[in-house]
Amino acid sequence: MRYLIAGAGPAGVVAAETLRRADPQATVRLFCGEQEPVYSRMAIPYLLAHKIDERGTWLREPGHFEALGIELVHQRIESVEWDTHTVRRADGQREHYDRLLIATGARPATPPVPGMDLPGVRHCWTLGDARAIAARARPGSRVVLMGAGFIGCIILEALVLRGVRLTVIEAEDRMVPRMMDATGGAMLQAWCERKGVRVHTATQVLGVERAGSDTLAVHCEHGAVHPAELLVVATGVLPNLDLVADGTRLSLETGRGIRVDPWQRSSDPDVFAAGDVCESVDWYSGERAVYAIQPAAVEQGRIAALNMCGRPVRYAGALPMNILDTLGLVTVSFGHWAGVPGGESVRRAEPGRSRYLRLEFDERDRLVGAIVVGLPEHVGVLRGLLQRRAPLGAWKARLARSPTRIAEAFVACTATTGLGDAASP
């Protein structure tokens, strides 16, 4: 059996390792499109913040893949001939596959405004981007960060730690709008502002101009102009659908990503997809969704691999979850934090102490989503409670009164304690 994996991000790497374990005789070839060691984009901000060196971004130790008998190929896969089970590499070579995993991930979106091609305008996505940013983001430099989403906020901290003078422009009305509600977003903004970051929300970047040899002028709505040596663009990501778009004769079914069934299989039975490139389903609603997050990527990679080698394992759907540490303020969101129809919301905010907890229950008293700000202990249990998908019984009322008792609720609801249905008194 010959397995090819296009993309050496977390989904691809975990899939390769899983295939190796599950099918020791097979050929496993992992294609990395960048001329770099296999690294983690998640780690780039920590590289920028000097917390680690480049080696610290590597997903695996040198020699790891060779030792496992996984063939790591530094070649971008350019296209796929679905009917002949053949891929074409960047160097023109063709390779046959029995099963193909597309784990090509996502790429940063470039907003349609003038000046995005100027020097000094960078995404923060690849190690190459990181080196370019590091060169320009020096102590005292003026930097504009376009987009205060999840990735923007990770970069935000790294930039501040580099000592730059930072201005953040976010088009929506709050920071991290996909992960925080108005209360949480406002807390995060106030926190950042206290740390000396200028944050402008509900304003668009209209265009960027050269304003000197090494200076940019970032034009925003209402005539605001922000001079900067560096503009970092972090306005979201899009699935890398090149392989699919290129297949003219027969392509794969796509929505916002490559559509997969609960076995991570695409519309072509020998082609699977995992990670940011695939459109899976939401764990709660069952609706199609693309959640470009690390935990979902590795789970999908693992499950795709098991199914590729004939061990049927069903994926129960992607559970959105994010955790951010922005200059010391930890923010977390899980699931349907904005609530579901017919559900109930519990919110406790202490803006003065930058603490906030929001829990969302559905009409069957099951936890469906949560937001946590400034209370980082045992947050993982929220995932446990969400996955449990069982009514919380007496604990629903207790959590409504004391939402911070989430860890107790989880422990009480586990089988070993016998407290799950304890309706006390």
Partner: protein
């Protein structure tokens, strides 16, 4: 090390919270907790002060072993001038609050002045704040606990609070932490109430360090093994709690019954530790749910009980169906044998209410017992009691009056004065079973002679925990002495008093001394604390603390004449049991005790004694 070297001074009048360094010179002489806080109190408070006035101070003090891995290292004490006694008060409590306070970085909190409006103190590590307690005032300890958790949303906040009893000036009001552990005696809760301090809520994440960690872990591990292998601390206490004593003490004829008219109780078996483990006929479950440990305790003597839902007292009160702190021996005695009541479930309810509202069950039960005798002798009538037929054995009276006393309603208002003032008021002072205004607990000094001297000389008023000679006289720890003879008891009492002062100053629990001697405790203190803490130094310190407390009381107006027992114990012979025909021989023991202490015949420390102890 061992100490955090930091104390928090809270001035309620000014509304300020101020950190200050711990006086390490004093720490070297008084170690911590009881000793060290007494030093602070005696330096800062005029002994003649009205206990309920703003000039009195209230100290929450931990010891150097509080918050460490030493077994039972979770204790704290509340030191103040007692509302019930007017003497020095030092009430020791377990649970988790003390260790949390220490973990927050504080050795003690000194509360002074009086708040204009009710407040509570919130301590989160270094940060201490006084917050309005308007909506908490009038609430029980339990409700206060819940509401503070609602407000601050930190499930790990540990809370010590007063209930309605402390607010209403019940003179034996206590301070309850962790819902059912209490700094119980002498009315420390009334002092807190007078200061309008509703609660202290603490969260500590800073940790506790010791001087020589390796030696400390080695020695504490070794000493834990002794506790585990000892019959009392390894089996008796975890299985039956202090309630292991009920049948034992009854058998030897030293269980004060019906206000100490008798020394054996026919219903003892029904209210014993054994009874608490018996499945009930109604629901097939025992009263006792489980045992519980306080912070760091490897003995785990705490009782956690659930009241029979079908019992008439709680049938319509589901809020009392949950598990909570069950009967300890003294409580079961006070609200059982001493009142002639043998309804375990009703007594558990009364115990819950004492915890819920912050009342000392010993003083409450003993005061109720005195009131019952006043009633049976005709000194009070149903007109005084509001229609309650206050006879010994009347369970309804217990249930009604525990509620009334906490709330300051009806005849409960009178009970809230304590038995000394109650009996004086109705012209029968001799019926009050008190010393220095405090009700004595569950050991009759006619059947356990040493306890007579213990009660008479206890610096905080009658108390078993100042020199628990029961250990020797009944249990044979460290060696058996005859409970029926007074000989040798003065030396025994003095030795126990001094050693107990050491234990109470360390952060450890006195119950360890069923298995440990000071020889076992000394190396634990020595490993935790800087400096050389030899046995001799500790024993001298214990004696110093005892004399310092004595000096406070003498300056407060007490004299040797207050080292007395209720007449009944020295004049009315025991009516049954092994001690039948005996009275307590205090008159024989007291002069010898004074001499051993280096006190003059008036019970005052001689100048030589004071000098020897550096006082």
């Amino acid at each position: 090390m061992g100490w955090q070297r930091k104390i928090l001074r809270v001035n309620l009048t000014e509304g300020t919270c101020t950190p200050e360094p711990l006086n390490m010179d004093w720490a070297m002489q008084y170690l911590g907790q009881r000793g060290l806080a007494t030093k602070y109190l005696t330096e800062e408070v005029d002994p003649r002060v009205d206990p309920l006035s703003p000039d009195n101070k209230l100290i929450f003090a931990t010891g150097p072993l509080t918050g460490t891995a030493a077994s039972t290292g979770g204790r704290y004490s509340v030191i103040t001038k007692g509302a019930l006694t007017g003497a020095i008060a030092c009430s020791n409590s377990g649970g988790y609050f003390g260790a949390e306070l220490k973990n927050a970085g504080w050795d003690m909190v000194i509360v002074e002045g009086q708040a204009r409006e009710p407040v509570y103190l919130l301590v989160e590590d270094d940060e201490a704040r006084l917050l309005h307690a308007g909506e908490l005032w009038g609430q029980s300890v339990w409700e206060t606990h819940q509401r503070i958790h609602d407000i601050h949303q930190d499930p790990l906040l540990k809370i010590a609070a007063i209930g309605q009893a402390g607010e209403n000036g019940v003179l034996f009001a206590c301070i309850v932490n962790d819902l059912h552990r209490a700094a119980g005696r002498s009315g420390v809760g009334a002092v807190m109430g007078a200061k309008r301090l509703k609660a202290v809520a603490v969260r500590g994440t800073r940790g506790v360090r010791v001087d020589d960690p390796q030696r400390f872990l080695q020695v504490t591990t070794e000493k834990k093994r002794i506790l585990a292998e000892n019959a009392v601390t390894g089996q008796g206490l975890p299985t039956y709690g202090t309630q292991v004593l009920m049948n034992v003490v009854n058998e030897i004829g030293a269980l004060p019954t019906r206000n100490a008219r008798d020394v054996q109780f026919e219903g003892a078996a029904h209210i014993s530790g054994e009874a608490m483990r018996e499945p009930r006929p109604t629901d097939g479950r025992p009263n006792l749910v489980t045992n519980q440990a306080c912070f760091g305790c490897t003995i785990a003597c705490g009782r956690v009980s659930r009241i029979d839902k079908t019992h008439y007292v709680v049938r319509n009160k589901p809020e009392y169906w949950k598990a909570s702190g069950g009967l300890e021996y003294e409580n079961a005695w006070a609200m059982g044998a001493d009142t002639g009541i043998d309804d375990l479930e009703a007594m558990t309810y009364a115990n819950f209410v004492c915890n819920e509202q912050g009342m000392d069950p010993i003083s409450f039960g003993a005061t109720l017992a005195a009131a019952m005798e006043l009633y049976e002798t005709g000194a009070i009538t149903q007109e005084d009691t509001g229609g309650i037929e206050l006879r010994f054995g009347n369970t309804d009276a217990l249930v009604t009056l525990v509620e009334q006393t906490a709330r300051g309603e009806g005849f409960g208002r009178e009970l809230g004065l304590g038995s000394k003032r109650l009996c004086e008021k109705y012209g029968r002072p001799e019926l009050s079973m008190t010393v220095k205004g405090q009700e004595f607990p569950a050991y009759d000094p006619r059947g356990i002679q040493g306890m007579g001297l213990t009660y008479a000389t206890s610096n905080r008023g009658a108390c078993h925990l100042r020199s628990y000679t029961v250990a020797s006289e009944v249990l044979g720890i460290p060696e058996k002495t005859d409970p029926l003879v007074p000989d040798g008891k003065p030396a025994l009492v003095k030795a126990f008093q001094d050693a107990t002062a050491v234990v109470d100053s360390s952060g450890l629990c006195l119950f360890t001394t069923f298995a440990w001697t000071l020889d076992d405790i000394q190396p634990q203190i020595d490993a935790a604390c800087e400096g050389d803490w030899s046995l001799e130094r500790l024993l001298e310190m214990g004696e110093r603390i005892w004399n310092l407390e004595r000096q406070f009381n003498l300056a407060a107006g007490f004299t040797g004449a207050d080292d007395r027992l209720p007449e009944r114990l020295v004049k009315e012979p025991a009516r049954q049991g092994p001690a039948k025909g005996l009275t307590n021989q205090l008159g024989k023991m007291l002069p010898e005790y004074y001499a051993l202490r280096g006190w003059n015949e008036q019970g005052e420390p001689t100048p030589e004694t004071l000098q020897r102890l550096g006082l």
